[in-house]
Amino acid sequence: MVFSSLIFLFFFLPAALFCYYIVPQKFIRVRNAVLLLFSLFFYFYGEPRLIGMLIFSILMNYLFGLSMRSTYRKPLLILCVIANLSLLGVFKYLNFFISTADSLLGLSIPVTGIVMPIGISFYTFQALSYVIDVYRREVPPQHDLFSLALYVSMFPQLIAGPIVRYHNVNVQLAVRKHSFAQFSEGISRFLFGLSKKVLLSNVFAQIADGVFKYAPNELSAAGAWMGAIGYTLQIYFDFSGYSDMAIGLGKIFGFEFLENFNYPYISKSVTEFWRRWHISLSTWFRDYVYIPLGDNRCSPARHIFNLLAVWTLTGFWHGANWTFMAWGLYFGVLLILEKKFLAGWITRLPSVLQHLYALFFIVIGWVFFRSDSMGLAVQYLGSMFTSTVPLNRFVIEYLLRFWPYLLFGVVLSAPVFPRLKSTRIWRVLEFPVLAVLFTLCLMRLLASSYNPFIYFRF
């Protein structure tokens, strides 16, 4: 079930709100139980056969969490990490490893029929962060199985993040305030996220999907750039829209989740981009991989190795394909270049050029992310820079069809809205704007069945 579906908006959400808020605030455990039941149903709806995997992961990490007080906490932590990564490895990466071995070594091992459970990357990382935080004594182990189950499976962030860290919500699981102000803020946030997804991302998806349907050698340079820029906008409004909806829903149910995006496309460097993009994932890798590897408090060679390792893993986390690994590695190399050589040079450039520099490399990066194979990615990049194909007709078509959305997309990629929100006029405009956006979303949802979230496959 996706948030931008009629069944979620008009059936699941009202039912969850009714059952949750009919329980008096003092019975927070009962409210948690209601939220847990709805969350499990939410997951069951999307992945009926594999809900057992989610429950198994919760139980396993609950027991590991409790065991972090024992004498053997370190080996148990290692066991916990191996167990979690094994689950991820089997369900997400096994077929990739088999097909890679087949092609590299000339073997003919058949790929398995294993299906990847929705959201496994997200809930595995959340569960791991809990056990590691307990191991580090940053938080006490959770004795209440249902509270831990709720932390891992809470439907607003279950299948596409943000990756909520246990130490950020452990107190909220036991005690949290509910107020009209927070609820109302949650509504606005949710509706803006919904609008980003339904009104903008789905339109940009038409551009990107339309262009990526072509073989790279059929594309003119302008056509290839249009596809790459379309995808750049699609993935931002898709994922940040989803995060907005998750944060908004969290507020509606009394939780405060950390921000996941901070206008990444206004960055002036790749380093800054990664401080603003998918913040919950990059901080996860920073805290649980990069710092334990030695951070930058080591030899320059080791530092470079650490960065490359972290960014390769970041890429690989996004999917079992060489393209994702290349995407991660690409950013790893860029970050190393910026840290070691380019930082001073970039900051001396005029601001506009700094933005263009960052955007250029970000857009190129998304080509790896969007392409089905490395070969296609390289060919696509070739078309962007060296194509001699005459201008594709779709370039004019898409500009004529989607210019208002492209305009909105570009404008809303910058922090225009926070500025508008701080003005007086917003007090008058807020209700009508929200009503219009909601109606537009409803119209679009009814008119179109094109509604998959990109991040569901992770």
Partner: protein, 385 residues
């Protein structure tokens, strides 16, 4: 004051969700969608299997989307919004001035060669069956509206010309190679497409059908079939809104002066008619239609038999889909008996057995040039499987 604003927003939001969900659940359910020309989904019956494989939930979503409160007004509003933004493509329909055409997206680079072979093989069998009973078999190739009016596409949108042309050329060559007699109506209808075609529907209009009738009779004469040709026909527009297939995709929101045409015979030909074996009124137009597709011949029907009781005239069998309806409305005047089969609805004998049993003088196979290689229904005429 600030808290009051939050309370109002919360109440409005929750109220909107509650009202829409309540109305969607408790309002009376329509069985069909007028604009979409289809049945609406019924609530699925769950089973362990459908719940576990996810089809139950996806069927529930389809049901909810089909029966959602204010669905049609909201869809209309969406179309109006897109038209107001001057979007050249709305609901997969290209707005080409006063003409509506299908949107193709990426041009196809090829067609299904296997399907073409299957259809040509089926037609060969029909041709042979006709020869056995001494009947003339004519393949009537009719350009579809977007094919005839392809020059109306804006230059930056694909009209599907390349693939459709190669498909059409190869198909006609395939017919020729098999010795199947073909009357290619493109030569006549594409000479003046704006006269013969609807602007907002994928069919020809009655002028197009009448021209097809005249050319068919002329062609049959060259094959030695002697039959009177009805030429005293008055064609007039019907003063009712015309909602063609492409207009339907825009929920009738695109203004058009397109018309449905009524025709009157100078000399009426009396006849009796049976549909799917049951006697029905002796008419070839349905004046009380709700749907424009029900006007000529009462719409798509599995088997229709019209008898004019003039034994000296030929017995004709017409096979095809909705393109046959307006044509049949006048073709029967040249026949002793005219039978019409639409294999999308007819589930009796396959075409070979039918020809063997009926022993017609003429078999007309009517197909538009875009679906000519489609293997379902009339593509294989009950011969597949």
């Amino acid at each position: 004051m600030k808290n009051a604003k939050h309370i109002v927003k919360t109440v409005l939001f929750c109220g909107t969700l509650a009202v829409f969900s309540a109305v969607s659940v408790f309002s009376p359910k329509e069985k069909g969608s007028f604009y979409e020309n289809r049945r609406l989904a019924v609530f699925p019956v769950p089973s362990v299997e459908t719940v576990l494989d996810g089809t139950f939930f996806s069927d529930v979503e389809t049901y909810i989307s089909d029966h959602f409160a204010c669905r049609v007004p909201l869809l209309r509003l969406n179309v109006r919004k897109e038209l107001a933004l001057h979007n050249p493509v709305v609901s997969n329909t290209v707005i080409a001035g006063d003409t509506l055409l299908p949107y193709h997206g990426k041009p196809r680079t090829d067609y299904d060669h296997e399907n073409m072979q299957t259809v040509l093989d089926a037609l060969s069998q029909v041709s042979a069956a006709c020869e056995t009973v001494g009947a003339k078999f004519v393949y009537l190739s009719i350009p579809e509206q977007s094919s005839a009016l392809r020059y109306k596409y804006p230059s930056y949108l694909t009209s599907g010309t390349y693939t459709d042309n190669s498909m059409r050329t190869n198909f006609l060559a395939g017919l020729d190679a098999r010795g199947i007699d073909c009357l290619n109506m493109a030569e006549y209808l594409c000479a003046n497409p704006e006269k013969y075609y609807s602007k907002t529907d994928h069919h020809y209009n009655f002028y197009g059908a009448y021209e097809t009738y005249l050319r068919t009779m002329e062609h049959l004469q060259t094959l030695g079939i002697d039959a009177p040709v009805t030429t005293d026909v008055t064609i007039e527009p019907i003063e009712r809104p015309f909602l063609g297939s492409r207009s339907r995709k825009l929920l009738g929101e695109y203004p058009t002066d397109d018309k449905l045409y009524h025709f009157t015979l100078g000399t009426p030909v009396p006849f009796t008619r049976t549909d799917n074996g049951k006697p029905v009124a002796s008419t070839v137009v349905n004046e009380n239609f709700n749907n424009v597709y029900d006007y000529y011949m009462g719409g798509d029907i599995g088997e229709t038999i019209i008898k004019t009781d003039r034994p000296g005239l030929p017995r004709m069998l017409v096979v095809g889909d909705s393109f046959t309806n307006p044509l049949e409305g006048i073709l029967y005047t040249s026949c002793d008996e005219m039978r019409s089969l639409d294999y999308r609805h007819y589930d009796g004998e396959n075409i070979l057995d039918y020809i063997a049993d009926y022993q017609p003088d003429v078999v007309l196979y009517v197909r538009d040039d875009l679906t000519c290689i489609t293997t379902e229904g009339n593509g294989t005429m009950g011969l597949a499987e």
